[in-house]
Structure formats: C-alpha cells, structure tokens
Symmetry: C2
Subunit: 423 residues, 2 copies
C-alpha cells in the first residue's frame, strides 16, 4: 500500500505569464480542487518556455512534495517544452502514442482539415505514462507515477484544464484515489455594510474557539469591494458530521453578525435583492445621478431581471432631474443637487411617472472634482420608498476614489432595499 | 567593475496567496519595473509561511539569476519569516538596526501609541544589509549584496511595495545603477471592432520583419473584452533613437489597421469618445434596453463626464419605452422591441425629449432567455444620430454570454460614435 498524497506544488509554464499583463489564474482552480481532496498546495511557480529551467524547477518540486502539477507548454510548437523538460528530469524517453495521434488526426478531419505535421508532437509521452483525454482541445494530459509520487501535465487553456483536473479529483479519479480519506468541507457567509475589521471583531471570539476543536475549523475573512466574506473550512474523512459541524458554526456567525449577513449560498447582493423582488412580485425603478447607471446595470446583469426591473432614469444633469423627474429647479438651486430634499423629490418623480413598487434615487459627489467643504467628495444621498411605506432618506460618506464611491453607493441602496423587504 | 544585472526571479511569501481566492499581483508591477531597466524576469514563485521552504526556494533562485526579489513576510508577527529564511540561506546573522527601531517607535508615537514589543522584529536585518525606507508602512525593505548578486526584500502591501521598488529602479536607485545600460522602451496601440486573430493577420506581415531588425522589436497582441491591444517593445541603450524606431513602427501598424486603431496613449474607448465630445462641445444622451445602464455607466466612470453626458433612460420594460420615449406601442407589437424601427423610435424619443447632440439607443436580446429563431440571443440593434446628420441603425449579432453581449453592445455604440465624429 502506498502512502497517500498530501502535498502538491504547481508549475505554470509560459513566457507570456511572466510579463506585466497576465497572471496564471489556473492555480486558483487547482488549489481549490486539490483542497477538496485534502491535498495542500505548498508553493507554486511560473516558468518561461525554457527547457532547462522547467526541468530544474520540476526536479526540485518533486523532492519536496507528493504531487507536481504542470500546466501549459503542451501545444504543438517548438516553444511547447513541458513534455520534454519533464522527461529530461525523470530520465524517461518520449515515445509516440499512436492512439493519441489517431485522435488528434480525427479532430482535424471532423473539421475537414488534414492534421499538420507539428501536431504529432502532442502525441509524444514519456515511456510508461498514461495519457489523459482532453474533451475540449487537441493536447492530451499526461499522468506519470514517479517513485510513489504523482506528476500531472495539463494543457493551459482553462476550458481544457478545468474538466480534466475535476475528473482527476472526482471520486474515481487518479488523484482522488491516491489522496488520503480526508476531504475539505466548506461553507461561506457574505456580509455587507461592515468593514473587514469590524466583521473580524465580531467573528473572532466565535471562531477562535473552533481553532482548538478536533478537527479545527479554519476561518478566512476576505474583503471584496462592498462585501466581506467569511469562509469556513474543515478537513475530515466524515462528510456528514463535517457538514453538520460547519452549518452549526456558520449559524453562530450568522446570529452574531445579524442583518449584515445577507447570504449563505454564494449569491451576490444584486441577485439576492432581485430574488426577493421576484418572490414578492415587486417591480423596481431607479433614478441615478452620480452612479450614472451603475445601479441599474448591476441589477440587470442578473439573468431574468426583466421580471422585476422596469428601468429608470440616469439624470446626470440637473436639467434631466427637472425635465424627467419633475424635481423643482428652485429646490436644486436652494439645496444643491446633492441634498436630501432633491433625492426625495427624485423618488417622488419616479413614483408619479413610473409607479414601480420600489423606487430609489441616488445623488452624490463621486469625485474627483465637485467636492465642497460642506459636501466633500464621497458625499452621497440615497432615498427610497417601497409601496406605501414611509420614504427613507440617508446621507452617506464613502471613502475611496470615484469608482469605490459609486460602487459603495449602489451597494448601500441594494442593502437598504434588502433590509426594508426583510424587516 | 561588477557585471550588470540582467536576470531576476521573484518569490512572493504568504500562505494566503496559495488558496483559491487571492493571487500575487505584485509580480506584474515588479516585472514591468524590472523590464524598464532591461532586467528579465525568468520565473516567479509563491511560498507559504514556511521558513525552510522560503530558504530553499531563495537559495535555488540565487543560483540561477542575478537579482532575487522577495515580497511579503516582513511584518512583526511569528509567521513573518522572510528575513529569517534569507539570513539562513545566506548564512548571515540577524542584528537589530537601532535606527529602524527608532523610526518604527516614532511612527507609533505620532499616533499616540507605544510601540508593541513584537514590532522590534521589523528592525532585524542580516548583518551587512542596507535597509530601504518605507514611506507608507512600518516594515522597511532590505537590500543585500551577495557575491555580485543582489537580493531585495520588500513588504507585501502594494502601496508600500510600489514606491519602494520604483525608487530602486529609478535613475539613482540601487537596482538601476547595477543594471546594464539597456532600457526597455514601449509603445502601444488599441483597436476595437476586430478580433484578435484579425488584428494579428493584418499586423503579422509588418511586425515579422521587425524581428530580424537590430535591435528587434517585440510585438505582443493582447485581447481584452471588446478591445485588442498591440504592444511594441524594444531593448536599447539609446533612448531617443529607440523611441523614434518604435513610433515609426507603430505608425505603420496604425496605417494598416486604419479606423480600427482608436488610441495610442492608453486611454480606453469611453474616455476617447468622451474627450472627442468635450473637444467638440457636444452632449450625449442614451436610451438603453438590454444593456440596462451599462453604456451610461461606462461613460460616467470617466471623471469629468458631466461636461458632456446629459443622462438618459434605462427603458428595460416596453412600458417605459412607450411612456418615457414615446415609442408607439403598436410599433413594438408589430416589430418586437428588438427591431430597427423601435431602436430608431427610441433615438427619436430622446431627441424630442432631451435634445442632446448625440442620441443613441440600444435594444437587444442579452440572454440567456428571450431568444427566438428569428432573433437569437446576441441579437442587438443600435441606433444613433448626431445633430442633424442622418440616423444610423445597425443590427449586430454578438457571441458570448449575457455579460459579453452587453459589453460588446456598448463597445459597438462607442466605436460608432467615434467613427462618426472622426469621419
């Protein structure tokens, strides 16, 4: 019986991944897939199309970990060197696999093309290796058993790599069968309206005790614009009890975080609010000034949003606030376009002229220009009314540049709709 | 005289960079900065907070290249191990630099706080090393001369790392002084409306001859959603002549690509169109259906856009097309909301009701639902009129999912405005 595979390193091959425009993103998917079968990624690297360097990095990785995954460099051209470098490092000869050649030739023939001679390179595999079918491309993957260790070569394009690796990590796959019986179990929780440190302050007394548990629950807090996520993971061979422990743990966090916790199933806020509107049979209209269409754009990014989004006005100029929303020009003159009375009048205009169930308005100073001592950049007024409930108007101040002010404005409005519909 | 530094490797330290949520993005900035002083990045890696592993990776890098840059792991806590690992690998003792301790203590005192004892760790440097000031944080950088090679340790947060590395690569900086006299010179060119392979087909006969030139011009074609970029780079010690060669080369490409080339100074299409509108003193209004506000959002993402964007209507429902744009409901019944006559009527409605100089309308099937045999998902009709020029209506079909259809619709409209204003 061989010892289970517990550790891995990833080597992404391709000179284009060493410039200042492109990152290797495959490693995120690989880290996640390996984690689900309990394999820990110890390090990862990127190498240019340099046979000697790839061979050196690979040989060093193989000294350190149980599994080495190499991605990219399996194409048919001269600068696709991963096969050769791995064969060099392992002292294996490359031989042509006739079955692969036949498959590649067939792929070309289906498109009415002869197989270019260079593609024969893609059928070369180290002696003793197993080829892995690639449903979405011509380059097969390669699996090598090397002295109780496992080496996997996968093509670089994500749509080719992802199903191939998922198959290897699924129950019957070659990586899953060699991994230990432990699996990584995960649950998540999304919040909005609280800063990362505020979430941590609330969550820390709760999750710190889980660290001492057996097995321990690991907690990761991740801030994305307008949203703070809490991810809980647990390594265990017992799926049912692990899930139970995680759900109980998440429940404690949800209780502590209260209304700030808006989702436990991965949906983002525009989707969560959209689903609430759909379930309640409500329609929405918006009047946007400083956000310039961002709120409606985010809502309509969600497929099927035409069921509840009627539309709205981007009243970027004061002229449009008056002409299309009926906001009294004298009101704007007296209080300024960024004021609670103008925001309220924008909602009133929407209600009178569109009559959606939920009417919201945003007006503010997104910057970089336009700020005053009284209303500095980041000052945003939001107003909303749901059916015949009272009008709600809030003045916010958001930090960050133009883009962050705009994003946080829309996030605040969506969150307010959610809370009003929940409450 | 020492030999110049020509090659580098980067090691990013931090277990959080090995999960499935975060990538090391510092390496993009580092690659660009090093390239400007003619230093080539040969490989890069990410290591968890493991002293032995960091030391091993570092020692191996130092065997291969002239410069090793390590980022992260310079904080004050127990899992900040970069200093220790590098000292281990070089066989150097860590000693406290009193000047650094004093600086860190001063940073805390300015905020009225005593320096926590752990922060003294940040003042530990390998004997003989030089500390590098960090204007935006408490962790100083460290520069070590190791047997004609250079080792640089920088803090992980981008706002700390970036000014520190930029200083090292500027004319008087320690990296620039040790680099060769060659510099990397760059120019770029953005196109829209052509696919990546189409751009390559046009550009290839031109750039292939530059490869044979001395020094050769390197050409990179990079596709981003709705835009294909061509980047030309040239290594040379002669700045003036290099720039001249690159500008001439780019001129040839601009001529060959014709109207598809919209920018040579890095501005994106919404900014280019915005600048054209501002220069000509024109205003814009938009009526958006399937794009749901995306066009106006992209235009108003640009600071100062209130000078030319009046605003518009997100007429996501047919009701709003009729009520706010005056589109005859019978027209929608007869031809469907996604039709050239309805798009034209939307523009007409905008002109009558807002009267901007440039009026544009978008209506289409973004998907995933709503497609028919006649008008499949991806069918988008755009219409626009500039002042009293004739109305222009186009039916497009865009591939990709909902997000790509929406983005390409707005890109097509922006590009059409640009061409009409240029022509």
């Amino acid at each position: 019986m061989t010892t289970p595979i517990r550790t891995a390193e990833v080597i992404a091959v391709g000179s284009e991944l060493l410039g200042w425009t492109r990152l290797d993103t495959n490693s995120l998917f690989i880290a996640e897939q390996l984690a689900t079968v309990g394999i820990e990624l110890k390090s990862k690297s990127v190498a240019g199309d340099d046979r000697g360097l790839i061979a050196a990095l690979f040989a060093q990785s193989l000294q350190r970990v149980d599994l080495v995954v190499l991605t990219g460099g399996l194409g048919p051209t001269d600068d696709d060197l991963t096969r050769d470098a791995v064969a060099d490092a392992l002292g294996l000869e490359l031989i042509e696999d006739e079955a692969i050649t036949a498959r590649i030739r067939h792929r070309f023939e289906r498109r009415g093309l002869p197989m270019p001679a260079v593609n024969r390179r893609q059928a070369m595999v180290p002696r003793g290796a197993t080829s892995l079918p690639n449903p979405n491309g011509s380059a097969p993957g390669i699996l090598i058993e090397a002295d109780h260790r496992l080496v996997v070569l996968l093509p670089g394009p994500p749509r080719e790599l992802q199903p191939m690796l998922a198959a290897l990590c699924s129950a019957a796959g070659a990586i899953a069968r060699r991994a230990g019986s432990e699996r990584l179990h995960k649950v998540s929780l999304f919040t909005t309206g609280l800063s990362e440190s505020h979430v941590d302050e609330i969550a820390q007394p709760i999750y710190s005790k889980w660290r001492e548990a057996t097995p321990p629950i690991e907690t990761t807090i991740l801030a994305t614009p307008g949203q703070v996520e809490v991810h809980l993971t647990l390594r265990s061979a017992e799926t049912a009890s692990a899930q139970q422990v995680l759900l109980k743990a998440r429940g404690e966090l949800v209780d502590a975080l209260g209304e700030a916790a808006f989702c436990t199933d991965g949906r983002l806020l525009p989707q969560v609010v959209g689903d609430m509107l759909r379930e309640r049979g409500l329609t929405l209209a918006a009047a946007e000034s400083c956000t310039g269409g961002l709120l409606l754009q985010r809502l309509t990014d969600v497929a099927g949003s035409s069921a509840y989004v009627k539309g709205g006005v981007v009243a970027y100029s004061n002229e449009l606030k008056t002409r299309w929303l009926g906001v009294d020009a004298a009101l704007i003159d007296a209080h300024g376009a960024v004021s609670e009375v103008v925001a309220a009048a924008m909602v009133e205009g929407l209600r009178a002229r569109i009559g959606a169930d939920v009417c919201v308005a945003i007006t503010g100073v997104a910057g970089p220009g336009g700020g005053t001592a009284d209303k500095p950049v980041g000052t945003v007024v939001t107003a909303m009314q749901i059916a015949d409930q009272p009008l709600s108007v809030t003045t916010h101040w958001f930090p960050g540049g133009r883009e962050m002010v705009r994003l946080q404005s829309t996030q605040a409005v969506l969150d307010r709709i959610r809370r009003m519909l929940t409450g």
